[in-house]
């Protein structure tokens, strides 16, 4: 194994794990999926072990497949709920932009940044399909290009709203009776194809200024979004070469803008390789299908995972996606993290501080 201690580590927290049959394991805690205790236990353990980010996927609608986990909690609320249960980890919920209000999403993410003292991110996603359209009943179904064009507008609105208050807008000037200097609170006057938002945010600027924007690259449209707007870019690739190639293309397209690229790694850990293989075989038997992924998969021991992660090059980090939760997590935090991340950085400063990302200058501050 080579030294790769700079590798960023994220964990995606999806229900009982990303394998559709994972809930059937005896140790799955499927009955607790809708309790705070479950999420605080899992994400708290990752936080203490020094995991850099927790991703919380979300969408609208419930699957028609009764043999998989059905139902989920709203991810931004879940991330906020974990404020007190965590101290260091970045909390990155998905908020889809297709059926939501950009004004609400922006201020909710901004507020998570306030409650966590600067640990918030936002994974931008779109929600295709007629099912979600029917749940809301106010839009027509959109094609991929339209969904991502709308996402670009939503991200632009959020970025402007997050800057709409200058950092020193609150003055509390007793002599003049003024709580704010209103010249430092700005309308954003966004007029787009999908919506218009006057602004300003109702929330003062948050600790990171701009919470981190994340996106998963799944096609040309999300690639373009990643290159133009994301701070954290999640990618999927089935081998190291493809990952490095995609990363190079993303960085080139992003130009001078710093982007951190994280490669998804599907993970199932057990005491021995044979145990892990047996666990996977059981999941596959339940599902009635072999497990197929569009990214790197490690089914094996913690030592094997350490070796795999040590050899990863070209990307800034990985997003570990446990096939089964909580079972893979104890091995991850007890046997993998301490090896590749022997020193956990203290819980000081914001997420941007720890990542070495600058706090963005306010786009409105130069206006006077």
């Amino acid at each position: 194994m080579s030294d790769n201690s700079e590798l960023l580590l994220a964990v995606e927290f999806t229900g009982t794990g990303i394998h559709p049959s994972s809930w059937r394991r005896d140790d799955s805690r499927a009955e607790e999926l809708f309790t705070a205790r479950y999420w605080a236990d899992l994400v708290g353990a990752a936080d203490r072990a020094g995991v850099d980010f927790a991703f919380f996927p979300d969408t609208f609608g419930v699957t028609s497949d009764a043999s998989t986990v059905r139902g989920r909690l709203e991810a931004v609320g879940l991330a906020a709920r974990l404020t007190a249960a965590t101290t260091r980890i970045g909390l990155v919920p998905t908020a889809t932009v297709t059926h939501t209000e950009p004004f609400h999403v922006a201020k909710a993410i901004q507020t998570v940044d306030h409650t966590t003292l600067g640990r918030a991110g936002w994974e931008v996603a779109v929600t295709p399909g007629a099912g979600p359209v029917a749940l809301f009943g106010r839009k027509d179904e959109q094609d991929t290009a339209s969904l991502w064009a709308e996402a670009a507008e939503a991200a632009e609105v959020a970025a402007r709203l997050w800057d709409s208050w200058e950092d020193d807008a609150e003055i509390r000037d007793v002599a003049t009776g003024r709580f704010i200097d209103r010249d430092k609170v700005h309308y954003i006057d966004f007029v787009g194809e999908y919506f218009s938002v006057k602004g300003s945010s109702i929330v003062p600027r948050s600790p990171q200024g701009q919470p981190l924007v994340a996106v998963t690259v799944t096609g040309d449209e999300s690639f373009e979004f990643a290159a133009k707007r994301a701070d954290l870019v999640r990618i999927r690739a089935t081998d190291a070469e493809a990952a490095a190639d995609l990363t190079t293309r993303i960085r080139a397209a992003a130009g001078d803008r710093p982007v951190l690229v994280l490669l998804d790694v599907d993970l199932l850990l057990a005491a021995t390789d044979a145990d892990a293989a047996a666990d996977l075989a059981q999941l596959e038997a339940w599902a009635g299908a072999p497990y197929v992924s569009d990214t790197i998969v490690h089914v094996g021991t913690a030592a094997g995972a350490v070796e795999l992660l040590g050899d990863i090059r070209g990307v800034n980090g990985v997003t570990l996606r446990p096939l089964a939760l909580p079972s893979t997590l104890p091995r991850l935090v007890e046997n993998v993290l301490p090896v590749i991340r022997p020193v956990v950085a203290p819980a000081t400063g914001t997420l941007r501080d720890r990542l070495g990302l600058p706090r963005p200058a306010n786009r409105f501050a130069s206006a006077h």
């Binding site: 419930v62 249960a85 609400h104 507020t111 749940l135 009943g137 003024r178 209103r182 609170v185």
Partner: protein
């Protein structure tokens, strides 16, 4: 006081100081309106005092005065649901109530968000439902325009019905997780919905299983006849403005008398007026503190701004310590935007204010202090406890939503001195009996009948 007599129990809530001139930001003890620490302080103080719930207001556009952002009061606040979620992790029993607008949100998303809060707080969520009709706020949302004023309660009622149907979508028993059979949740346990109303067309299946309270608690604040009727039909508690004893009793009797026609009983709806309080070592001390607070709440610039709301014109050249303007008001209803206060007939109001100022020899600032006074309890802890108990025992209310004037320590003294006295009187809990907000408020689970047992 005999403890053998079961007294009517008082319900108390703590309102986080809001973005109006009630909140004194100039006091050296006043801390951040945004830092999460401030919210945690007030919530934990309320929980230490065994309060029923914490309350957070909302406004979706910064207020404007004379075409610019109003800068004299507190400006800015965090997102309501997000703060309540974060507080769920910092408290264990306290109810968590927030104002959320039904005009600029969609019911499917709201149902998901409140069900999430109810799950993640183990049954402590409450929604103060407001429906606005202003295009000013609409400029921040997809909807853009606004709702016709007459449609406000139509939309509000439809939202309540829709979210309740969504919350009831999963069967009472929740997902019946059957590892052996490989069924996480059967189709038969997630009823589809197909809803068509004047405002909404929705179809599908809801994605959150039943939450601990079944339905989060509904609060409502509306004083018109239509608003009272809506409250009687749909709400679990009414956040009222009728603070005086006589007005309170009249409102209480009126609203409670409307319950029967909806098949609801007297205890199914709580009446909780907003009230401020000022405590002192003696009655005189409390009065003096109250006077000082009123002067802080109505500073010279604030006095002029209030006057401008009625006069509809720039009065910045007037001396707040001098007499009222002799010019007449203009009809300018948009001088202040983003809040509800508008004089219905500016000329009549101006005339009445002039007469009052003349009769009582009041300056502009003194007059504004008088006419904007809200219900408050002023006195020693003993006096305030006695008065609050009297209001509740004589059916002027079921309790109060207390509005401190200082962030975040404005409730500390009340909890330390008044709460123990209310407890001694046998009128207020010394421990939480249950874990859910419905339990604290003595509300039934939504699917229990009139004869059913209370929520645990």
């Amino acid at each position: 006081m005999s403890r053998n007599i079961v007294r009517k129990q008082i319900h108390l809530a703590a309102h986080f100081p809001g973005v109006n001139n009630t909140t004194v930001w100039a006091d050296p003890a006043s801390k951040s309106q945004i830092d999460f620490e401030s919210f945690v302080h007030l919530a934990r103080t309320a929980e230490r005092g065994k309060f029923d719930f914490f309350f957070l207001a909302e406004g979706l556009r910064l207020r404007e005065h004379r075409g610019r952002i109003h800068d004299l009061d507190v400006v800015g606040r965090p997102d309501t649901l997000t703060v309540l979620e974060a507080l769920a992790g910092a408290t264990t029993h306290l109810g968590l109530a927030g104002t959320i607008n039904t005009t600029f949100n969609e019911p499917y998303e709201l149902a998901k968000q409140f069900a999430t809060l109810d799950h993640l707080s183990d049954g402590r969520a409450a929604w103060n439902l407001v429906t606005s009709s202003d295009a000013f706020t609409g400029e921040n949302f997809r909807r853009g325009g606004f709702l016709d004023h007459s449609q406000r309660y139509v939309r509000a009622a439809e939202v309540v019905d829709v979210v309740r149907e969504l919350w009831d979508g999963w069967s009472e028993r929740g997902p019946v997780i059957d590892r052996e059979a490989g069924i996480f949740a059967a189709d038969t346990d997630i009823a589809p919905f197909d809803i068509h109303t004047t405002q909404f067309d929705l179809a599908g299946r809801f994605e959150v299983p039943r939450s601990p309270q079944g339905h989060p608690v509904f609060l409502q604040a509306g004083d018109s006849d239509e608003g009272r009727e809506f409250g009687a039909a749909k709400a679990d508690a009414i956040f009222s403005r009728h603070g005086t004893l006589e007005e309170g009793r009249a409102f209480y009797t009126d609203v409670k008398s409307r319950l029967a026609k909806y098949g609801r009983s007297h205890d199914d709806l709580k009446i909780l007026p907003a009230a401020a309080f000022v405590l002192g070592d003696s009655a005189e001390d409390a009065e003096e503190r109250a006077r000082h607070i009123r002067l802080q709440q109505v500073g010279p610039q604030t006095a002029i701004a209030f006057l401008e709301q009625v006069w509809g014109r720039d009065l910045s050249n007037y001396d707040p310590d001098g007499p009222l303007p002799d010019v007449d008001p203009e009809d300018n209803v948009t001088i202040t935007r983003g809040r509800v206060r508008h004089a219905k007939d500016p000329r009549a109001v101006a005339e009445a204010w002039r007469a009052k100022a003349e009769a009582e020899n009041l300056s502009i600032r003194e007059l504004i202090i008088e006419v904007t006074a809200r219900q408050q309890f002023v006195g020693t802890a003993e006096q305030v406890a006695t008065e609050i108990d009297h209001y509740v025992q004589t059916d002027a209310s079921d309790g109060f939503i207390l509005v401190p004037h200082l962030t975040p320590g404005g409730l500390d003294e009340f909890v330390d001195t008044v709460v123990p006295l209310l407890q001694e009187r046998g009128s207020f809990r010394t421990e939480y009996d249950g874990t859910t907000l419905r339990s604290h408020l003595g509300l039934r689970h939504p699917h229990e009948t009139n004869e059913g047992v209370r929520a645990s």
